[in-house]
Structure formats: structure tokens, C-alpha cells
Symmetry: C2
Amino acid sequence: MALEIKPSQALKLWRQVHLDLVQDAHSDLSVRQTAILLTIYLELPPHTVRGLASRLGVTKPVITRALDSMGKLGLVSRRRDETDKRNVVIQRTVAGALAVEHLADLVTARARELGPA
Amino acid sequence: MALEIKPSQALKLWRQVHLDLVQDAHSDLSVRQTAILLTIYLELPPHTVRGLASRLGVTKPVITRALDSMGKLGLVSRRRDETDKRNVVIQRTVAGALAVEHLADLVTARARELGPA
DNA sequence: CGATAATGATACGGCCCCGTAACGATCGGG
DNA sequence: CCCGATCGTTACGGGGCCGTATCATTATCG
């Protein structure tokens, strides 16, 4: 079930998708923001600031600021946890799901174009 | 010859490698810098500032600054073209080759761990 | 030789992100 | 009921990257 990929293929894939990302004006996410976004959309909810911070090995302000900027882009939203009002629950959005899906399409399309070497 | 990868696998791979990159203190390259680095190491030399700029669809100062910062990290080096002293030839370095190889290992290792879904 | 073009670097103002430290709000145990 | 612990946010100073405009150097062509 493992995905077999040669190092040279991995590099070509990584480069090509990064070229796409650089030229795509809409995707302006940093590496950290991308890691946060994908964690929110791939791992089971609920997601909290503290949980994401420890999951990524970064400080809490990093998460707060990333949620701020990604929130402005409509990729995520926040809501107070009513059972424990100290917590903030990070929620997915339609725009965020579309962005993630777009990334998936990009990677799969570029993988499909890879040669054997 | 094409690499078959499902969208869900692509996302898991992308997320896991990004998590690795975030937690690896040494790799602090932006998306643009990564695209530049991989282009230098995967495409045939010679590489020039102008060539990379048009290849990536960015302005020349972006390339100059990226070469400055990556040069400080020892990932690339620059040399004047003696036949046309207006040009600068970007050269690979041992450290840069190791960094690229490290990235390739990262991607291939994470791909190998992917499940079927 | 002189004017023009081309190349890469630099200056500038602006924006975003970082890490540390502190803060207000909320919860929970004694 | 209160005091400490926890949660997320904000303040602060610093640094990096951005795009535009401009610059010095070098090549080219009439």
C-alpha cells in the first residue's frame, strides 16, 4: 500500500508544485500556514490553538496570527467553546475546503506527469 | 510511467512533509526560495538571475535577494560570467546539494509511509 | 566613439511574521 | 470564595520579503 516514489521523482514533483504555487497569485501561504491548514482539514476536530501549537511544535502566538491571516482569507473560522469559554474551536470553511482540494488536484496532476526517472 | 497518487494521499504527503519542515529548525526557506533552489539543482546550468526570474514569473530583485539569503546559508554561490561581465552565473554548492538530497529523502520516506486511503 | 540596450544590484516604503513577555478571561481545587 | 492554573490574545522590538524605481557596469550597434 505504500507509495513508491524515487528521490528524483520526489524532487521533480516538489519543484513543479512549488513553481505552480509561486505563479498562482491566490496561494500566498507560508510553510507554517500550509501545515496548519492541512492539519485542520485532515485531522479530526475539534482543533484548538493550544492543540495545534503543540502538534506543530510552535508557540501559541504563531497559531493565533496564522488563524488571523487565514481567517481574513476565509480559509478558517473561530468560535468560542461554550462548555469551556477559555477554549477557541477552529472551524473549517467552504473556501478552506476548496483551497485544500485545489492543492490536492495540483499535486496529483503533477504526479501524473512524472517520468520514470 | 506516471506516478499514481490519490488526492487524499497527496494531501497526507503534503501535510506530513510540511510538518517535518516546520519542525526542522534548519530548513527555513520560503516557497519561493524552495522553487528557486530546486530549479537551480534540477535544471541544466547555466543559471542566471534573469533566467530564473522569467522561469518563475517573478521580478529580478526577488531572485537577487533569494540568492543573497541562500548564499548566506551556503546553499548557492555566484560568479561573474567572464565572457559577458554583465551576467552572473549561479553555481551549486555541496551544502546545497545536501539540502536538496535531504528534501528528497524526506518526501520519499513520507510517501513510503502512506496508507492506501 | 557615442548612444542605446541589457544585466544584476540597490534604495525605499510597506507589510507580514517571529519569539518573548505580558495581559484579561475563565476554570477548578482547596 | 479565592487563588493558582490554563486558555487565547495582544504588545513589543526585530528581521525578512515584497514591488517599484533607480543605479552602475558592461555589451552592442550605428
